[in-house]
Amino acid sequence: MSNLVRAELLKIRTTSTWWWLAIGAFLSIALAFAFNAWLASETLSGGGEEFGYTGDAASAPAQAANLYTSGQYLGLMFVMLIGILMVTNEFFHQTATTTFLATPRRTSVIVSKLIAASLLGFAFWLVTTVIDLAAGAVFLSLNDYGTQLGEWEVHRALLLNLMAYAIWTVLGVGIGTLITNQLGAVITASVLYLIGTQVVGLLFLLLSNLLDNMAVMKWQVVWPAAASQIMITPGENEMLPAWWVGALVLVGYAVVSGVAGILITRRRDIS
């Protein structure tokens, strides 16, 4: 198995795709960090109500947590895309034949892709977090808010962020095995991730108005990207379920798509 994971990581390292996605992730960190830093300084100097930040959300730890996870929104999409490409590349470039000749036990191939994907998700999280921590700590200190690095809320945000990175990469592998057409998988997943969340939120808002029941809003957690948002959102909110519900849903999606991917791949004729 370690041979296979090594081979999967080598596959990623020996093409330029991951570079482009890493550059994309870096740019999104830079943009998001600048925005979040501005938001934090506005909020912490008393202007939080303009952005809807009141109470706990306007506290220094909450703002620090937000700052330290800058770039997460697009970063998660990029690691998902890497996960997708790890599978669809095999079909797009017709290397699936070679891969399954070297390893006829297809379950092992997909499992090793899932492991390699998690490792890669971890690496992306690590680099992102190091950049965010360094830049964030400097920014917060310079503005006399303190680094907030001792706060549980900050730790929690970083850990959940790690979980999100690992799960979305795994989810990407699952999506890739379900939609083997490279362009189809990439476009579908990106659109569903970026636009789908807003659309789903809107649909649930309409539905809750229609049924005159705000609790319906909580059900938007069934949407993976919404579940991801709910998982990383700190504090209580009557419109949203608890964070762990989001986490469970997200893990559920990862497990289901991973298992479905293995089952489908085992049966598939490679020609």
């Binding site: 081979a7 020996t14 093409t15 017709q94 034949t97 000749l101 070297a102 006829p104 020609s271």
Partner: protein
């Protein structure tokens, strides 16, 4: 050397038994059985759509058979402990990532198969691709791609080689290289199974042939056996302005004469000297007198006539 070659035959023998693949609308392979022996090059022949590729892919566990089994050295491909050390395959619709270099392509496979890293360089040297090792796959010519495929197949130094249309895209020099390479591998005692529709090339390359059509076995044997099995053996082609006179002169003997439709006569049952003597005696002028031996191509076309094409 009294031991060491405990079971050289069975170890690398390919046995296809009752193999069947039913796709939604097409019976691609129908109860196909044949064996492929080590130490020989076996040509796997059939018209387009005969089921050659499907058969090879079932042999390699890439396509699941509807019925039947295919084993290599007595084992199904997925049951081989180290498949790449037993079997090397070059298949159509098998490729490399366009943005990956040739040597990295081989390193990925070596890593997955648990082979030492330097095998990639050795395999490249074996097929003469070392100068292009660090070039990206998208810059490779068709011939270089085929060589890279063969290098990948040779990574594990396998006892069994399976190649699907390996001559495709090769120039004459490349084809000659391939012929020498495969014959050399067979001479080392390896099993070499090559599918192709280049029949003249196959006649030069193969020791044995397996001919299939419409998913079924048509003929299996050595090249000589298969050619000899044809009803129509040696014939004499004659071109003469006095066809009727020659036909009359040969009428007494065992010869059968027919027109080939292109102004020549095809005479069976007698040899060329007999025809020449009969012509001289009868005062018939000859413009051509050739002995025609059936070749693989003619045998193939007669055996598969009416079974080719899209099904």
């Amino acid at each position: 050397m009294t031991d060491g070659q405990s079971s050289p035959t069975n170890d690398a023998q390919i046995v296809v038994s009752g193999l069947t693949k039913q796709y939604k609308n097409v019976l691609a392979v129908n109860n196909l059985s044949f064996t492929v022996e080590p130490g020989r090059v076996t040509g796997f022949l059939g018209p387009n759509g005969a089921g050659k590729t499907t058969t090879l892919r079932m042999l390699l566990n890439l396509v699941t058979p509807t019925a039947g089994t295919a084993t290599i050295g007595g084992r199904r491909y997925p049951d081989l402990a180290d498949p790449l050390r037993h079997v090397g395959a070059v298949l159509e619709a098998s490729s490399a990532h366009k943005g990956r270099t040739g040597v990295n392509h081989l390193r990925v496979i070596s890593a997955a198969a648990g082979l030492p890293r330097q095998r990639a360089d050795e395999a490249l040297a074996l097929v003469g691709l070392t100068p292009a090792a660090k070039r990206k796959f998208k810059g490779y010519s068709l011939g270089m791609k085929q060589r890279l495929g063969i290098a990948a197949a040779m990574l594990g130094d396998p006892r069994v080689l399976i190649l699907d249309e390996p001559a495709n895209g090769l120039d004459p020099e490349g084809i000659r290289w391939m012929r020498g390479f495969l014959k050399g591998l067979a001479a080392e005692g390896r099993t070499v199974l090559v599918s192709s529709h280049l029949l003249s090339e196959m006649q030069l390359l193969a020791d044995d042939v397996v001919i299939i059509a419409a998913g079924q076995l048509v003929r299996q044997g050595t090249v000589d056996q298969v050619i000899g099995s044809m009803a129509q053996g040696v014939r004499v082609r004659v071109r003469t302005p006095q066809a009727d006179a020659l036909t009359a002169a040969l009428a007494q003997g065992p010869a059968t004469v027919e027109a080939d439709g292109q102004g020549a006569l095809l005479i069976a049952g007698v040899d060329a000297p007999t025809v020449g003597r009969a012509a001289l005696t009868a005062g018939v002028e000859l413009h051509e007198l050739t002995t025609e031996r059936p070749d693989l191509e003619r045998v193939f076309l007669e055996l598969t006539a009416g079974k080719a094409g899209i099904r």
